[in-house]
């Protein structure tokens, strides 16, 4: 297992957002978190690279192991976030050129050589399937691209620091169907090299691309298992009701 989450409780102040959850996230697989709004799936995702540390009053109980090491015991949160990259719900390229967007991460981690940076930028953009559209406009502002292109630039930016895990918080919810399809194809290609965890509201998306699915409700994990099984023969009544669209 890449991530071992055991008996984890998450709180925002007094609000109990995640209740006693344990699950393992396997490497070279896509794990999808699904569930109705406010079920805590994004909270759990953002705990895996400690992005929740930025929120006042957030606290964790339990143990989250990355390759066997407790992520909350290790002091170097920046190194953790380099290993566990994140793509956000809304494309958030920085207001600078594409090149500088992609190079920001590597530069942060000490890479200064121009030729090496050029290489990283090209490789990352190719990996994120945006190279063809971007190669002649590397010096142009990233904000001049469309939403779907911006999201692929953001994925390239995350890949540029060579993470081991990719966390994706509803990465296609702000995009049109064609851009969504492009990003789904991309994720399937990236699966061989990375551990991917994706939060999605779109159940078809979870079915199409994920290997494992975890279904959350009101801060509890109702069911976790192989995507195919979970969607065809759910064990729990609540899961069945949710995936057949009776609520949520």
């Amino acid at each position: 297992m890449k991530f071992d989450i055991s008996a984890v409780d998450l709180y925002y102040g007094n609000f109990h957002a995640i209740k006693n959850i344990s699950l393992g996230i396997a490497p070279q697989e896509i794990t999808a978190f699904i569930g109705p709004s406010g079920c805590g799936k994004t909270t759990l995702l953002k705990t895996l690279n400690r992005m929740n540390d930025l929120i006042e009053g957030f606290s964790v109980k339990g143990e989250i192991l990355l390759d066997g090491n407790d992520i909350y015991e290790d002091r170097d949160v920046n190194l953790l976030r380099k290993r566990v990259g994140m793509v956000f719900q809304k494309p958030n390229p920085f207001p600078m050129s594409i090149y500088d967007n992609i190079a920001f991460g590597p530069r942060t981690h000490g890479i200064k050589k121009k030729t090496l940076l050029d290489e990283i930028v090209e490789r990352s953009l190719k990996q994120a399937a945006i190279w063809e559209e971007a190669k002649d406009r590397l010096k142009k502002s990233a904000l001049s691209f469309s939403g779907g292109q911006q999201q692929r630039i953001c994925i390239a930016r995350t890949l540029a620091v060579e993470p081991e895990v990719l966390l994706m918080d509803e990465p296609t919810s702000a995009l049109d169907p064609i851009s969504t399809a492009a990003i789904e194809d991309l994720l399937i290609k990236l699966r061989d090299k990375y551990t991917i965890v994706i939060v999605t509201h779109n159940m078809q998306q979870a079915m199409r691309i994920s290997d494992k699915t975890a279904f959350f409700m009101l801060g509890e994990m109702v069911e976790y298992g192989n995507t195919e099984k979970l969607f065809s023969k759910p064990k729990e009544k609540k899961t069945e009701e949710y995936i057949t669209g009776r609520f949520g």
Binding site: N78, F88, N92, F94, P95, M96, F104, G105, C154
Partner: protein, 275 residues
Amino acid sequence: MKKTKPSDWILKILVYLSALITALVLLFIILYILVKGVPYLTPSLFALKYTSANVSMFPAIINTLITCVISLCIAVPFGIFTAVYLVEYAKSTNKFVGVIRLMTETLAGIPSIVYGLFGFLCFVSYFKWGYSVLAGACTLSIMVMPSIMRTTEEALLSTPESYREGAFGLGAGKLRTIFRIVLPAAAPGILSGVILAIGRIVGETAAIIYTSGTAPKLMHDVFSSARTLAVHMYALSTEGLHMRESYATAVVLLAMVAVINTVSTLLAKKLQGDM
């Protein structure tokens, strides 16, 4: 077709009228100064040395620029870093933050003559700097700091949270995120605050008559007394002997502010274009 009610017409006329009056007043002031001043813009007014015969404003122009630069060198870092502390570091529950906000708001509303008096008592008398450019610049920097701080604060607050998240998510630390991502994104807003500050510094008289003094010579170091352009103009017109030259000075002052504003706006546009 939509029918226009009479009240719509009245409002429309009022809107046009207000715009027209505002523009006309401004135009009138500018024209008045130009007509009264331009004919007396003689080369002797820009002589390197001031004498009571040529009342050259050249030393005052240089003094103004230097005073402006020193004031900004003090006020801009303090203003920006205070704003960075308030927005990026202080916890929302911190009582100190409320105190700083209250103080800056109060400082922004104080008449400039009060700053002049404070500068006189503190820098000129207590620190024994005498009437000096340094005392003037320090006073001016205290005067413009609150507005620089407030505009920077607004600019930082309007920088999307998603930029910070993106940077942190790549493993960037707090300092790097602030200096490489947040501050550059907020630069146009910060710059507009600095432009306003420049305008106030160049146009200020009350606060520096008491601190910089009114010596018409070119300053030779920061401890010498020196008058800025605005003070020069004020002095000429109160003496009553050189009214024409006073208007000519006003023309130059006007041109100076216009040039500074244009240059800074272009700079701001360039900054944004690069991003």
